[in-house]
Structures are given as structure tokens and as C-alpha cells.
Subunit: 344 residues, 2 copies
Amino acid sequence: MLTERQKRILWAICEDYIESAEPVGSRSVSKKDDVGFSAATIRNEMADLEEMGFLEQPHTSAGRIPSQQGYRFYVDHLLTPQIWGDEEIHAIHNLFQKDTTHIEQAIEHTSELLSQLTNYTSVVIGPKLQDHRLRHLQMIPLTEHSAVFIIVTDLGHVNQQRVLLPEGMSISVMERLVNLLNKRLQGISLSKLRLVVERDLTDELTRYVAEYGNMIFLLDQMLAPQQENRIYTSGTTKMLDQPEFRDLHKMKSLLDLLDGKNQSIIQLLNSSPSSGVQVKIGNETSIEGANHISLIIASFTLDSESIGAIGVLGPTRMEYAKVIGLMDIISKDISKRLTEFYEK
Amino acid sequence: MLTERQKRILWAICEDYIESAEPVGSRSVSKKDDVGFSAATIRNEMADLEEMGFLEQPHTSAGRIPSQQGYRFYVDHLLTPQIWGDEEIHAIHNLFQKDTTHIEQAIEHTSELLSQLTNYTSVVIGPKLQDHRLRHLQMIPLTEHSAVFIIVTDLGHVNQQRVLLPEGMSISVMERLVNLLNKRLQGISLSKLRLVVERDLTDELTRYVAEYGNMIFLLDQMLAPQQENRIYTSGTTKMLDQPEFRDLHKMKSLLDLLDGKNQSIIQLLNSSPSSGVQVKIGNETSIEGANHISLIIASFTLDSESIGAIGVLGPTRMEYAKVIGLMDIISKDISKRLTEFYEK
DNA sequence: TTTTAGCACTCAACTAACTAGAGTGCTAAC
DNA sequence: GTTAGCACTCTAGTTAGTTGAGTGCTAAAA
């Protein structure tokens, strides 16, 4: 266990390094108001802290920087989340404006605001379509051979699907099919639609529609796996301002990470606990080669069920106190607004 | 006008520089098979070409590199577009697979393929929703106070709009309203919907709906300006491989350009002529600070009307011959497939 | 026993001087 | 008109030297 003095020193080093990005020497620690000891004393303590794994030395004659373990301790026990002012809270309240008609829009704004206020890269993942429940099905013929098939969910999301019509199936038969599905599939989550049809409705359907093959052909198209939930990124270039990403190679792997194809960030966001702010430091993110990256995540909820997450990506040397404070406010506020939005 | 020999020299310098990214000296030009003159002769010609503005010298004792004007001449008169092999053409044909249900999907794949085959960053802009024509309107109540309003267009695109229902307006009235709009607005382009309602339907509508204020409130929400057409970017990180973007500052402004908020690329894509491949070099892009960037664009069409564009972004020193050849094939192929797709 | 002052030592980062080499422009010969 | 030869220019890379921030250790002070 660390002594009070060691904690204070570790805290001072973290704060200093986070601000300056330069290894912190014993002298500058001892000059801090809160730490009333000489540089020599600090040096001894620093040597101990290094031995315990909380600090690192880039090279012999440099100052110390916090190790991953050091940041962990700082985040868990030493920092006090920043309290944000009225102005920022006001901006957050405005995310859901009166005329917000798509949640996607609000989510995108959230991402932008998050990046703007923190000066880091933000990542936001929206409600998972698969978990929505079916509200309404509709088929709208387009040409002789194609139609648009629309799925409206309980949360007001609309999913479109273009389908090819099987040869020789009359419009009226298809309409009957859709009507039946509409009656029987109400309230089923989208991910289970296909399953329920297969399990419970096959008999009934074959009674309506003679050509079984054609019907399956149509159903498969209509209820095809919906697109994955989109990820919103903002402020990608902010990373370039961080001295640790001056290196082109690191920069490139970071950009690749954000390029969308990579699923690891999405997985991390999806795995965030439904309440509170979670901090993943360095390889805790379990992203390969992400030793210099930290990710701070928080969920937002609807009826206390987690339906999405916001995240801020920065160097391990990021301003945890500031970001954690902000994420706490934002995630709670979004949850509140979402509930209002859907209750209206 | 340039002599044949000068053209051959300019050509050689362009090809060499595009491949090596190093200023080209007189010796390496004279060693090329096609150019049978000594280094000294080449030097004289190079001095002339520089005076005419086709070449530049980074510093006194370096070789020459093509100027913007030089590239322009190279693109317009010297290069021969690369003929692509069966393998690539096959990949292009596969962009529209049998199970393609969203055009967006095909567009995204196009963008990815373009970037993969060229090793540059690709930008693709899809059909402008505003130009689609109305096919079908539908209103689906969600809660007591809100509904989802769906617009289906002639190209099978579905647009959703969440609307707040005005207090005290009965569902049946609203249904009548929607029915009327459905009859009267068929075939009108989305951008003109609101206008047409105001101009031609106000009288008729007031006869149906007593509360004029509430109706306007509803209409404004339903026919609100649709979202801008999305831009698809692929291979952003490919730019990092180009030596001219080693510089962090240039890199940052480039990434900001691609970040989506910036409209200049969209404008350029929208302004591309409906047939043929167009090359914008350096400040011809009229993007501020884009002296080292070139953009190659081509439209794709539906019924010989331009409905979108593909673009490849690279350094001015990009492989024009390769990219131009590819874009020509792809844009034509997409147009063909799109027509097939919508005729089905 | 704990803390501090002093001092020798280390090492990255910067600077200046030097070198190598690629390429030029000019001149004179072919 | 073309080419060989040569002096000149300028960048990039290397080496050696200097500076300064910071450390670890020791011995004295509290």
C-alpha cells in the first residue's frame, strides 16, 4: 500500500505530466505547493514508486512518467472529476432540440460536442436496431418486379429493404402475407423475426400462400439481417495535436482503428456497463498495439436499459479528470432526454 | 508550342517523378530508352521547359519536378490511360451483387474498391435525395403525441421523419390529409414538395382541415428539408503512405478536408460533368491550401442523367494514367448496373 | 530515523563543422 | 545542333563537442 506522501507525489507527477507531456523531475514535484519536501526526498520516493511499478523512466537521466499501473491508481484513487460550468451544461441540454426528428442526428451532435469540449477524438454508438421491437410492416410496390419493404420499430426507427418479387406471385397474395405478418409479429424484436416465423408461423403461412418456395424467397429478403449499428466519430484530427502521435506509424494504426472497418472499438463500447464511467488504459483496451491509447466510455440508457454508449479516445496521458466529469454529465443527460423524447 | 523532343522529355520526367517522388536529373532522363540524347542536351531542354513553366526546381542543385502546368499538359496530351485486366473488371462487375438491396451499400463497396485498386483515398457521393420524385407517403402513429412519417421515392429510397402531432387533431383528419397529399403530390421531386403544397393545395387543404395553424405545423415537419446526401470515404490512411504528406501540418489539413464537415469536396463532386473523367490538379480544385492535392472525378448516371460521382484524391504526383483508366471503366459500369437495378 | 544539501555522473538534444554526392550551368570541342 | 568536361551549388548525412536537466549516492543536519 502507498503512503500518503507517495500518493501525493504520484498525483503530482500525473497531473504535471498530463499537462506538459514532459517527464517530470524531482525538483518540479518538490516545488508544487502541496508537497512540502525537498527534491532529494522526492527522489527517494520516486525510486520506490518506480520499483513498485507506478512510474517509468524513459532513460537514466530523465524525469519520471506514470506507467499504465500509475495511471490506473491515479484514476481509481487520486483524481477528482472536474465540475463543469453552466455554459457546457447548457450546450449539452441543447443537444436534443425541439425539432430533433432523428435520434441519429442527436447522437451525431453528441459526438461533435464531446470532441469539441474535450479536444479528443469521440466515438458514439447508437441504439442497436436488432433490439428494437416490431411496430409495423409495410410493402410498397415499385416496379413489376420489385418493392420496398419497410419495417417501423417501437422506437420510431424505419428500416427499408428493397426486395425482388418472385415471378408469378400476385400482389394480393403478398398483401395478405404482409397483413398476417403484421398481426403475428407485433412486439417481436427484429433479431428474432426470422426465427419466430420459422418456428410458429410456417403452417399458417403455407395455408395462405401456395408456393412455399417463393414465399421463403420473399421472407428471406424482407427479414434479412439488418445493418449493423453505425458508429459516429468526431474530431479524428484532434489526435494529431497530441505529441505522442507525432510518429507517423502510430498515427496510421490509430486512424485505421477509427476507420470503421475495425470492430474492436465497437466491441469495447458495447461492453460498457450500463451505469457509470469506465476507463480503459493502454492494453486494458485489449486493442493490439494500443499501449499509448486510453478510452473512456459510458452508456446511455432508455428505461434503465443500456441502448448505446459514448466514448472518448485519447493518449494514455489524457485529462482523465476533465473527461470523466464531462462523460458523467452527458451520459446521464442523454438518457434523460431520450426517455422524454420517446414518451412524447 | 512544345517540340516533340520537349514533349518526350516532359513525359519522361512526369513518369519518373510519379514513380519515385524524387526530383529527376538530366542523366536519368537521358538513360531512358525512348530518349536518345545526352544529359547535356536534356539539360538545355529542361532549362527551356522550366522557363516556360512546365518544370520546377526545388533548389539549385536538385533535379526538376513537374509544375502544376506540367502535370496539366501531361494529363491532357501525354499520358495513355492504363488498360485494366480481367481480374479488376470482374471485381467491378461484382459490386452490384444479386442480393444488393440498398444502393448505399453498392456505393460504399464502390468506394472501397476504388481505394483498394488505386491505393489512394476515394470519395463517392450518392444520388441526391432532393431530386428523387415522390412515390408514396405514409404516416404511422407511434404514441399519442408522435408519429413516423415515411416518404418513399421513385427510386425506392425511404426517408423517415418523426413528427410531433398537434394537440387536438384527430387521427382520421390526419389520415385524410395524408391521403390527399398522396394523390396530389405523386411524381413531384422532394425538393419541391413544400412549394407545391403552398402554391396549389392551400385552398383544398383548408377545406379538409379546420385548424389551419395545426396543419401547417404538421406539414412543416413532414416535408422538412431532407438530409444532405452522404459522402462515402475510403482509404483515408492511404494518404499517409505518400511521402508528400509526411508533414504533420499538411496531413492535418488534408484530414480536415475529408472529415465530412467540409463541403468543398462535395461541391467538386457535384460539379463534375455528366460524362468522361475530369482531373483537377492542385489549386484547380479551388480548395484552399490544396497545392499538393489532385482530384480525379467522374459521374455515374441513371437514364443518362448524372445522379452521383466517384472521386479519387491523391498527391499532385499521383498515377494519373492508372486512375483515369480505372475511373472510366467504373463510372460506366456503375451507370449500366444502376439502370439494370432500377429496371428490375 | 528521517530529511536534506552537495556532488559526481549520465544521457538526450542541440550546434557547428565537415564530407559526399547528385545535379546544374557554362564553355569549348565535335 | 549536340556533346564532353569541369567548376560550382546545395542538401543530406556524419561526427565531435557542448549544454543542461535530472539522477543516485553519501554524509551531514534535524
